[in-house]
Structures are given as structure tokens and as C-alpha cells.
């Protein structure tokens, strides 16, 4: 009888500290290098909407026969009332300070991850992600 070969799944849990202090571009490179190597990455933070979109764009640039892309899912901390107001205000201030920094130095500013959790993995391995407003489940197959 033929023995079924064992399959392995590699998961990397990354603290937000490892990504904080990196520019958006460096964060995306860090993530995509790991994912392209076959790892499923779990980060205790979420990218900004702009960084998320840049992650999709950069993924598309790296798609090839062996790497069809990524599956990604994030859960952000839901803020309400005054906390939401201050978050919106701080996002606006951050946006202005980022463009000012870029204008003055010509380099992108280092940013911090927002509170939450993100899972990013190779589309070849992650078959399905089912998301609810406050949870998600992942079906993976190596």
C-alpha cells in the first residue's frame, strides 16, 4: 500500500514590533518575501488602507506561474463614539504629517500598525477565508 506523503504547513507569528518603524514599502517587502517562501503570516496589527492597497498592487507585480498571489484577511479593532472620532482625527493628522515628511525629505515616513490582527498567506495554500465582522476562519491545504 502506498503511504500518503506528509504535507507541512509553515506559520510565522510576527509581533507588530517587527514591522513598526518600517516604511510601508519595507513592510510589504517583508510580508511578501515570507509569503512567497510559502509561509502563512499572522501579524498582531493591521496595515493602513493605503498600505493594504499597495500590498495588493505589489503582489500583482510578483505573480508568476509558481506564485498566483495571496489570500489576506484582517480584523481591525472597532472603535465607537469619541474613540472613533479621535482615530479619524489622528488618521487625518498622520496623513498630513506623512505628506509633509515626504515633501521635505523625499522619503516615505515610517508608520505604526493599527490595532488588530492580519493573516496573509500564499493563495496556493489558503483555499478559503470566511470572514465575519469579529472573526474569520481559514481553510488551508499544503
Amino acid at each position: 500500500m502506498k503511504k500518503k506523503s506528509k504535507t507541512r504547513l509553515k506559520m510565522d507569528f510576527v509581533s507588530s514590533v517587527a514591522l513598526d518603524g518600517k516604511t510601508g514599502e519595507k513592510k510589504i517587502n517583508f510580508i511578501l518575501n515570507k509569503v512567497k517562501d510559502g509561509s502563512i503570516l499572522v501579524v498582531d496589527g493591521v496595515l493602513t488602507p493605503n498600505e493594504e492597497m499597495n500590498l495588493i498592487r505589489e503582489t500583482m507585480r510578483r505573480v508568476d506561474d509558481g506564485f498566483p498571489g495571496i489570500e489576506v484577511c484582517s480584523l481591525k479593532k472597532q472603535l465607537k463614539g469619541w474613540k472613533q472620532f479621535f482615530d479619524t482625527l489622528s488618521n487625518g493628522t498622520e496623513k498630513v504629517s506623512n505628506s509633509l515628511w515626504m515633501g521635505l525629505t523625499g522619503k516615505p515616513k515610517k508608520t505604526k500598525l493599527k490595532t488588530g490582527i492580519t493573516l496573509i498567506g500564499p493563495a496556493k495554500i489558503i483555499k478559503n477565508i470566511r470572514k465575519n465582522p469579529d472573526s474569520f476562519s481559514v481553510l488551508a491545504e499544503a
Binding site: I56, V63, G69, I70, A123
Partner: protein, 210 residues
């Protein structure tokens, strides 16, 4: 080029521009081109692009300029932009299932990835976005969440379009529950159901509508 941008900025600032760029965004196979064709046919009598059940049929931005739409006596000139479907993965093997040959499938996949990049770049040049979602499918996809988060961060007005309501099992209320903060129009782009409500919403919510 710089002068052109300055003139545009002045026009926008003083609301002198008469037209807006309306981008049709969403995942693949949600009916973006069918909707673009419906809008374009209604007001110009011409289609904008080809539709297909094979994902990534639209791989380049398709434009129809100066489409004058009207609702309740109010008029708006729009430059209609039908975007390639956004995706986080493009696998050429998927296209083989539709009978496309391997070489052609690889070319299609390459063009599709470039199309996604192009659609993302265009986010900096649209005034209003129709975020199209398939009402028969789960709206809580990361692509939808990322798209809406990005538009919010950029301050671009967005109208959700729950498409395919003519199909059995469509649940436009799921889209409303998932994203309650946005205006939503339920349509069937294919059959033209509720399409006048969409024109009304475009005129009401567009950034530079007069």
C-alpha cells in the same frame, strides 16, 4: 503638465468643472462591465466593453467620455471608467477550465495582473466610485474591505451597487449589513432593474455634481 494640473485644481476648487470621473470598481465577475454597458447604452447608445463568464475579461481600463446622465431634472456629465476586477490572486490554471489554451491563459493572467495594478493607480484620478458587489455572494471579502477603506481614506465618495438582484438567492441586505455607512443601490445591470435609482444616487452623491 504642471500648469494643466493647476488649472484642474482651480476648476475643482471653485467647482467650475462640469464633469466627473466615475470609476466602476469591484472584484472580478461582479458585473462591472455589464453595468458600464447599461449606463453607456442608456445615455449614448453604445456599449463600452465585452462581457464574459470567464474572470478577468476586462484587463484594461475602458473609458467612455462625456456621458450626460439625467435624473429629476438634474444633469451630470460623467467620464465613465470601467476598471479591471480587483483581486489578490490570479492563477492562469483557472482559465484552463474554461477551455483556454495554456499559452493564452498565461498571457491572460499576465494582462490581468497588470490590469489590477492599473485599476489601483486610477484610484488617484477618480471623483466618485461605484463599488459593485455580487448580491449572491458574501460581501465581506478583503478586496471589498480594502477598496472601501482606501476610498474613505482618500475622501472619495462611494456608492455601493448590489448587482444581480434578479438572481435567485441574491441577498442585497447582506451588503447593507456589512457596510451600513455607505449609500446602497440594488440593481440588476443585466435587466436594467432599479437603474434609475442608480442615476439618482450618482447625481446626489458625486463630489462635483452641480
Amino acid at each position: 503638465m504642471v500648469f494643466g494640473r493647476f488649472v484642474n485644481w482651480v476648476r475643482n476648487f471653485f467647482r467650475l468643472r462640469q464633469d466627473i470621473s466615475l470609476g466602476i470598481y469591484g472584484c472580478t465577475n461582479v458585473g462591472k462591465t455589464t453595468l458600464a454597458n447599461r449606463i453607456s447604452m442608456d445615455w449614448t447608445g453604445e456599449e463600452i466593453g465585452k462581457t464574459s463568464r470567464i474572470p478577468h475579461e476586462t484587463r484594461f481600463v475602458q473609458k467612455k467620455e462625456k456621458v450626460l446622465i439625467e435624473s429629476d431634472g438634474k444633469k451630470l456629465n460623467i467620464n465613465l471608467l470601467d476598471m479591471p476586477g480587483l483581486a489578490t490572486k490570479v492563477d492562469y490554471r483557472k482559465f484552463l477550465k474554461y477551455g483556454i489554451k495554456k499559452k493564452a491563459a498565461k498571457i491572460r493572467a499576465k494582462e490581468a495582473t497588470k490590469g489590477v495594478v492599473e485599476a489601483i493607480k486610477w484610484l488617484n484620478n477618480v471623483d466618485t466610485v461605484l463599488a459593485v458587489m455580487d448580491a449572491t455572494k458574501d460581501p465581506l471579502t478583503q478586496v471589498n474591505i480594502t477598496l472601501l477603506g482606501n476610498l474613505e481614506a482618500k475622501g472619495i465618495p462611494v456608492i455601493l451597487v448590489a448587482n444581480k438582484i434578479d438572481l435567485k438567492g441574491s441577498k442585497p441586505q447582506d451588503i447593507k449589513e456589512a457596510f451600513p455607512q455607505y449609500p446602497l443601490v440594488e440593481v440588476s445591470a443585466l435587466k436594467g432593474t432599479n437603474i434609475n435609482n442608480l442615476y439618482e444616487a450618482i447625481i446626489k452623491h458625486s463630489r462635483k455634481a452641480k
